[in-house]
């Protein structure tokens, strides 16, 4: 038994009045709000002027047929995400297959069986809800391009070797700050802080992929590779520090304590991909480079410098970003000392 779905706003496009009546009736009995269109042209006009959750689209129609409407929707940024279920006669299966290959969500054969109708509609709406949530989430964490790329390629678990830069950032002695104020104030502080840091990161093409307490991890150059990932990561870090300066000025006017952060960046090869389960996965990177970035970030406390990078990252920087060599440092888990640079 399929559970009853939330009411949705649906469009039925069919040139046959009996089919329109029947489909509308079945869908209304399932609790949905239904509008109809008599041909493809009218259907597309309605889609462009309204907000629908799903379309049931006939293939054979005068003026503009189902293929043409489907193609128009797939080529329209606003309508691309709309689930389209093709409705067709049994003997039009070839056409249906073509539609599904083009990008239709699913199909139903006429006369339409209400049990199948309910199941397909609910499944499509559920998928749409998940995709919408993902999109919202991705847009918060990544640039629009990366978000769309992630949605397009889908969540295939499993990784690939990439060359990228990883950035870790952490608030110094946040626990002490948190203990000295109300819990709500700490959360508000974190939210304001993260929104500034996210902007700095996504402005420079990075993707924030993990938040742990007051710490964050971001990756540059994956999932979409770009050559300048080392420079972009450092520019993001500089912008983060700049944003923080402004943030702290605001806090000092309010008589609040100053926030200090440490940022560590390392670049190189790493394994990037989705980890988790099909229902709950995150995009992340693992490997020595990632561990190194984390260790470098920790080292900022000792080095008394807020932004430290490894040698490979430094080699990717243009001359106008000044760095100072701090010498070699032994890190836990590394069998040789690593050259560390402070970005000035």
């Amino acid at each position: 038994m399929v559970s009853p779905s939330e009411p949705a706003h649906l469009l039925v496009v069919d040139d046959n009045k009996i089919n329109r009546m029947l489909l509308s009736r079945s869908l209304e009995l399932q609790g949905h709000l239904v509008e109809t269109a008599e041909n493809g042209r009218e259907g597309l006009e309605k889609l462009r002027s309204g907000t629908f959750d799903l379309v049931l689209l006939d293939i054979e129609m005068p003026e503009m047929d189902g293929f043409e409407v489907l193609e128009a929707c797939l080529n329209d940024v606003e309508l691309r995400q709309l689930p389209i279920i093709m409705t067709s006669a049994m003997d039009e299966l070839d056409a249906v297959v073509k539609c599904v290959e083009l990008g239709a969500e699913d199909y139903l054969t006429k006369p339409i069986n209400p049990v199948l109708l309910r199941a397909r509609i609910n499944a499509s709406l559920e998928k749409k809800r998940l995709r919408d949530e993902q999109r919202k989430l991705f847009r918060t964490f990544a640039t629009k391009e990366v978000a769309e790329e992630l949605l397009r390629t889908g969540f295939s678990l499993g990784g690939k070797q990439v060359n990228a830069s990883v950035l870790f950032a952490d608030i110094r002695s946040f626990t002490t700050i948190a203990e000295s104020q109300e819990p709500a104030e700490s959360i508000e502080l974190l939210n304001e802080y993260f929104s500034l840091m996210f902007d700095a990161i996504t402005n420079n093409g990075g993707t924030v992929n993990q938040l742990v307490g007051d710490g964050l991890m971001a990756v540059f150059g994956a999932p979409i590779f770009f050559d300048s990932h080392r420079e972009k990561a450092v520019r993001a870090a500089l912008e983060m520090l700049e944003q923080l300066k402004v943030f702290n000025q605001g806090r000092s006017h309010q008589g609040k304590s100053q926030i200090r952060i440490g940022i560590g960046i390392a670049s190189g090869t790493m394994v990037a991909g989705y980890t988790g389960t099909q229902s709950r996965a995150i995009y992340t990177c693992i490997g020595d480079t990632v561990n190194l970035a984390f260790r470098i970030e920790e080292y900022t406390k000792e080095a008394l410098h807020p932004l430290l990078i490894d040698n490979y990252t430094r080699q990717g920087l243009p001359e106008n970003i000044a760095v100072e060599e701090l010498g070699k440092v032994f890190f836990k888990g590394k069998n040789h000392a690593i050259k560390i640079f402070a970005v000035m």
């Binding site: 040139d15 009045k17 009546m21 009995l29 006669a89 006369p111």
Partner: protein, 110 residues
């Protein structure tokens, strides 16, 4: 082949309600003669596409009510239209007869 397949008809009625099916039958009885007229016009104008479309709609609607005989005849004509073959002889006559039979039974059932 039955005029109206009661299994299909009763399922439709259960799924949509007595009042609604009555409305649906009215629409069918109103629309089908128009579609048959469209087929005749299409034949006169040698418009195979228009002929095929009308046959397609009749087929689809007839199948909805379980009017199997009518659906089968319409499917055959649709196929001829698709093949651009309008040499249909007197095949419209049995189609009209099948519709009349389906009509009487649907009026009784409703």
């Amino acid at each position: 082949m039955s005029i109206i397949d009661l299994n299909t008809y009763n399922t439709l009625k259960e799924n949509t309600g007595t009042e609604f099916i009555s409305e649906l039958i009215d629409t069918f009885l109103e629309d089908t003669p128009n579609l048959i007229a469209q087929m005749k016009n299409a034949l006169a104008e040698k418009n195979a596409e228009s002929f095929r479309r009308a046959a397609h709609s009749i087929k689809s609607n007839a199948a909805t009510f379980g009017a199997s005989q009518l659906a089968a005849l319409a499917r055959e004509l649709e196929g001829m239209g698709r093949g651009n073959n309008l040499e249909i002889g007197n095949r419209l006559e049995p189609l009209e007869e099948a519709f009349q039979k389906a009509k009487s039974q649907l009026i009784e059932l409703r």
